[in-house]
Symmetry: C2
Subunit: 230 residues, 2 copies
Amino acid sequence: MSGEKEYLKSYDKEMYEKPSVTVDLLVFTIVDDRLKIVLVKREEYPFKDMLALPGVFVNIDETLDGAAKRGIKEEAGITDIYFEQLYTWGDVNRDPRMRIISVSYLSLTPSEKIQLSIGQRTSSVELYDVEELLTSDAKLAFDHKKIIEYGRERIKNKTEYTQIAFEFLEEEFTLPQLQKVYEILLGKSLHKANFRRKVMPMVEETERMTMGDAHRPSKIYRVKENTIVV
Amino acid sequence: MSGEKEYLKSYDKEMYEKPSVTVDLLVFTIVDDRLKIVLVKREEYPFKDMLALPGVFVNIDETLDGAAKRGIKEEAGITDIYFEQLYTWGDVNRDPRMRIISVSYLSLTPSEKIQLSIGQRTSSVELYDVEELLTSDAKLAFDHKKIIEYGRERIKNKTEYTQIAFEFLEEEFTLPQLQKVYEILLGKSLHKANFRRKVMPMVEETERMTMGDAHRPSKIYRVKENTIVV
DNA sequence: TATGTTAGTACACTTTTGATACTAAGTCAA
DNA sequence: TTGACTTAGTATCAAAAGTGTACTAACATA
C-alpha cells in the first residue's frame, strides 16, 4: 500500500493502533570537574529500583519542545536552560509494557541552576557521573544507557565545532575554568596557549579578577555579545 | 505532576489520548547538476494538489528505521540506500486533521537508483529542484517546506565535516564529477587543485579512464576501502 | 596540424595550528 | 621579609594545512 493512501486512511482516527509518545530528558552539567547527568530511581516495575532518564508523556495539545521544557522544569527545577532535540528512539520493545516512542532532548546547564527534588515528588532525582555510568557495566532502565551514550557523543562533537561548552558556565568565568570545561567535554587535556588564542575572539574581559587563591589571580571574562554559542 | 508519576499512570494504555506517528521521507539526489528531492502531489484534502513529502504511518510493530526503509522502497523504489534520522516535528497543528508527530528521515542516493511510481499508486511521485522550491514562494503541504529547508541545511553541514557527498555518486566516478557534487551541496565553486589534494586520501584509482569527450580524459576512481563515508 | 576544452600538477605564499619556554602574581611557611 | 610553590598568562618559533597562480597534458574537431 502506498504511503499516500495510508495518509488518507488515517483520517479515521481510530483505524490504527497508536504508539505512545514521551520525551526523555538528558540534563547534563559539570560538578567537581566531572560531567554529570540527572537521573531518577524508578519506584515501580518495570525496571524497579533502576536508574532512568527523567521523562514525561507528550500531551495531546503540547509541542515536543513544550513537553521537554515542562519536563526539565519538573525534574530539574530549571526554567531558562539550553536544550535541543537529540534523537527519537522507536524500537518496538524498548518498553515492555507497550509501544512507546521516545523523543530525547539534550540539555546543558551550569550546576548552580539545578534544583533537584522540587515539588511533591517522592522518587529520588540525583546527579550521576556520566563516565562512571558508561564505563561500568551498570544497567539502566529501558534503552537509556544507549541514549546517554548518544547524548555524550553529541556533546563531544558539538564541542568541537560550536561554542556549546559555554552553556556549562555561568555568565562570568575565567579562561582556566573555560579550558577545564573543554577538557572534560573532549576527554583530553588542551594546550594552554593555543586554547587561549582560539577562544579569545569569543570572550571579553571584565574589570574583575579572581581573589584568594595561592597563586596568580586570573582575569574574569564573559561571552562577547556577538558570539553565537550554539 | 511529576514525570515519574506520568510514566506509571501510562501503564493504563487508554488513559491518554495519543498522537499519531508518521515517518516523512526526504530522498535527495542530483540530476543535471542540480539537487533534487522526491515529492508527491496530494490527491485529497487537506492540501489537495499541493506538493508534499512522501510518508508512511509507523505501524505498531515496526521500528522507525523500519518504517523509513519501507517508505523509501514504496515511494522511490530503492532498497539499498543511505538514510539517517533527521528531526522529529511535533507542532500541535501541523496537520489540520489531528495530532500527528512526524519523524523525518534524510536519504541520499545516486539518481540512477531511483525508480519512481512503482506499484499501483495513482498519485504522481516526481523529482523537484530543491533550490527552486526553497527560493520561490511555492507553498508545500503541512510544514514540509520547513522540513526540506532543515534537510538541505543538514546536507550542507555534513558535506563539510563528513564524506556524505559520496552517497550521491555510484561506485565509480571521476574527480571532476566528485568536485561538482561538492560544489552543488556547498553552493559554491571550489578550487580544483586544493579540492583534489583534500579528497585524494579517500579515493583510489581504477585502471580506466573516461572516453569520447573532446578534451583530456579523466581517471576513474572509487572510494578507498577504509574511508568512513558517514 | 592548430585550436578549444577540460584534466591534472608544481610551486610559492599565507594562515592556522602545535609546542617550548619563558615571565607574572598571588599565598604561605620559615 | 623572603623564597618556595602554584597557577595565570605571553612571546616566539616551527610545522602543517590551506589558498591561489600558472603551468603542462590529452583528448576531439575543424
